[in-house]
């Protein structure tokens, strides 16, 4: 690591140029320059939203929960949604489990859907079982992305008690992305039939959504059921030209 280069970037952070600060923060993050944390903490109250958003992101890569969580929690109050999204993600990256109660509030009350979505993802990453009630309520969020992420997080939390609720939601959910996430979660929680249903859904989907769902299936698949995914992918290779490359790529990752 070039300490002179890091010093130069830190000096750039101390200037008044928001543009320069943003470039320097990204470079410091790329260089894994943990010594930048004190300087970054000084930029938390920058008047420039772009700088604060970059700081919120970099602190999650360079800091530790102990050293930066108070700053990240303060950034959850930021008026710019992007800053709140990044602060929420960073708290998850740093595994700040003690911040989970605040993240539960974010999940249920932040006015920005992307922030709520990120909160659902982070609470799933933190495996915060106390978030179950907030997550249940997020399953009825007006935003499909939040609902999909909440469903995925349910699968990660591993609480089988939510399975009847997830199944019931399938009956009324119209969004194909949310339906896929609900089925993926049910499969993760032990409902083996949900995998076949998930793969059935691909048939009526546009290519982009189908590719997303196939990748989702790839992520949750357990070895005993790999053959089912493989057979469906092989069918797609032959029958759906526009998905051939995606299906072949997934088959390679799935292995023999």
């Amino acid at each position: 690591m070039d300490s002179q280069e890091i010093d130069a970037l830190l000096a750039l952070c101390r200037t008044d140029s928001a543009e320069g600060q943003c470039r320097a923060i990204v470079d410091l993050e790329d260089m894994r320059a943990r010594e930048a944390v004190p300087v970054l903490l000084g930029l938390v109250s920058s008047p420039d939203a772009g700088v604060r958003a970059n700081v919120a992101s970099a602190l999650g890569k360079l800091g530790s929960c102990e050293s930066v969580s108070p700053a990240l929690l303060s950034l959850l109050e930021d008026p710019e949604a992007l800053v709140r999204v990044n602060a929420t993600q960073s708290l998850g990256d740093l595994r700040c489990t003690e911040c989970a109660p605040r993240l539960r509030q974010v999940l249920t009350s932040d006015p920005d859907a992307l922030v709520r979505l990120q909160a659902a993802e982070t609470l799933g990453t933190l495996k915060d079982r106390a978030a179950l009630p907030s997550m249940m309520s997020a399953l009825r969020d007006p935003d499909e992305g939040v609902r999909a992420q909440a469903a995925e997080a349910m699968g990660q939390l591993g609480e089988r008690v939510v399975m009847p609720e997830l199944s019931a939601l399938l009956a009324t959910e119209r969004s194909s992305l949310v339906r896929a996430s609900l089925l993926g979660a049910l499969y993760q929680l032990g409902d083996e039939a949900a995998l076949a249903l998930l793969l059935d859904e691909v048939e009526g989907m546009d290519d982009q959504t189908a590719a997303t769902v196939l990748n989702l299936a790839m992520e949750v698949i357990r070895p005993p059921h790999a053959a089912l995914l493989r057979s469906r992918l092989e069918v797609l290779v032959r029958s759906r030209q526009t998905l051939t490359a995606e299906a072949e790529s997934l088959l390679r990752r799935l292995g023999p």
């Binding site: 943003c22 999204v85 709520r116 990120q118 992305g145 590719a211 998905l243 995606e246």
Partner: protein
């Protein structure tokens, strides 16, 4: 894109808005004193026992417009049944609070102290271009307009707790409920097609640079996610907040995973 109206322009806007309401020169003043004088003028003779006029009427007119704009969202076929129900309730609350304020205002026209503060709030609302919502405006502007209206009300709260003050504060509260409902209704997890197209083109160019010829259908989800990660770093470095947020949104929509697509 809305213009930010500052300084004299703010004052002029307030004056124009006031003149639409059909009142006098007091509206040319955007200062607190001016607003207080106007409120007193309404309460101590010229406007006693009558409906709000001038700046206050314009502020109420903007609230009415914001509520009507939110009402138009009910026509959207994308609205889920639950969203529609919540929006109907919030709209009902906001309309009732606005009607309640108007009727209380008719009865409580002698509340000079409260009216003075409301006058200041009304002037602030009228001076803020963000509180204007037109019939053809982007639905995304509605929560911003409601937020500006609520800020105008809350930053000048009457200290008295008479019926008029309560009606005014309740109006602010109901508009805030409506703002939250409208904001919660907006779609956040959007795959932005222009970013996906750009990511796909970049993947094709990157492959071509290494001598590999890719067509669009050869670009897998994994390649797209890699390119989006590159693009996001560019947006971060160039401080392009809007595109950065869209890139994150698109990554979430495509379910890109940092563990799988990280460039570490």
């Amino acid at each position: 894109m809305r213009l930010l109206v500052l300084g004299f322009a703010l004052t002029l806007l307030a004056a124009c808005a006031g003149s639409r309401g059909g009142t006098h020169e007091l509206h040319l003043q955007k200062t607190e004193d001016g607003a207080r004088r106007e409120a007193r003028a309404s309460s101590d003779g010229t406007g006693a026992g009558s409906a709000p006029s001038g700046t206050e009427a314009e502020a109420l007119h903007r609230m009415e417009n914001a509520i009507s704009a939110a009402e138009r969202l009910l026509r959207s076929e994308d609205l889920l049944d639950e969203e529609r129900e919540t929006l109907i309730q919030s709209l009902g609350g906001a309309r009732a609070a606005l009607d309640q304020y108007r009727s209380t205002r008719l009865r409580e026209a002698e509340r000079a102290a409260t009216l003075g503060v409301i006058g200041v709030a009304a002037a602030a609302i009228v001076a803020d271009d963000a509180t204007v919502v037109g019939v053809a405006d982007d639905p995304l502007l509605i929560p911003l307009a409601l937020a500006a209206l609520v800020t105008g009300i809350r930053s000048n709260s009457p200290s008295a707790r008479d019926e008029l003050a309560r009606a005014w504060l309740d109006l602010g509260q109901q508009l805030e409920v409506l703002r939250k409902t409208v904001a919660m209704t907006s779609r956040g997890n959007v795959i932005h097609n222009h970013l996906v197209d750009e990511a796909r083109n970049r993947a094709i160019r990157r492959a071509a640079a290494t001598g590999v010829a890719l067509t669009e259908s050869h670009v897998t989800q994994e390649l797209l996610c890699d390119e989006l990660e590159h693009m996001m770093r560019e947006f971060r470095r160039s401080k392009n907040i809007e595109e950065w947020k869209k890139a994150i949104s698109t990554q979430k929509g495509l379910k890109c995973r940092p563990s799988r697509h990280s460039r570490e």
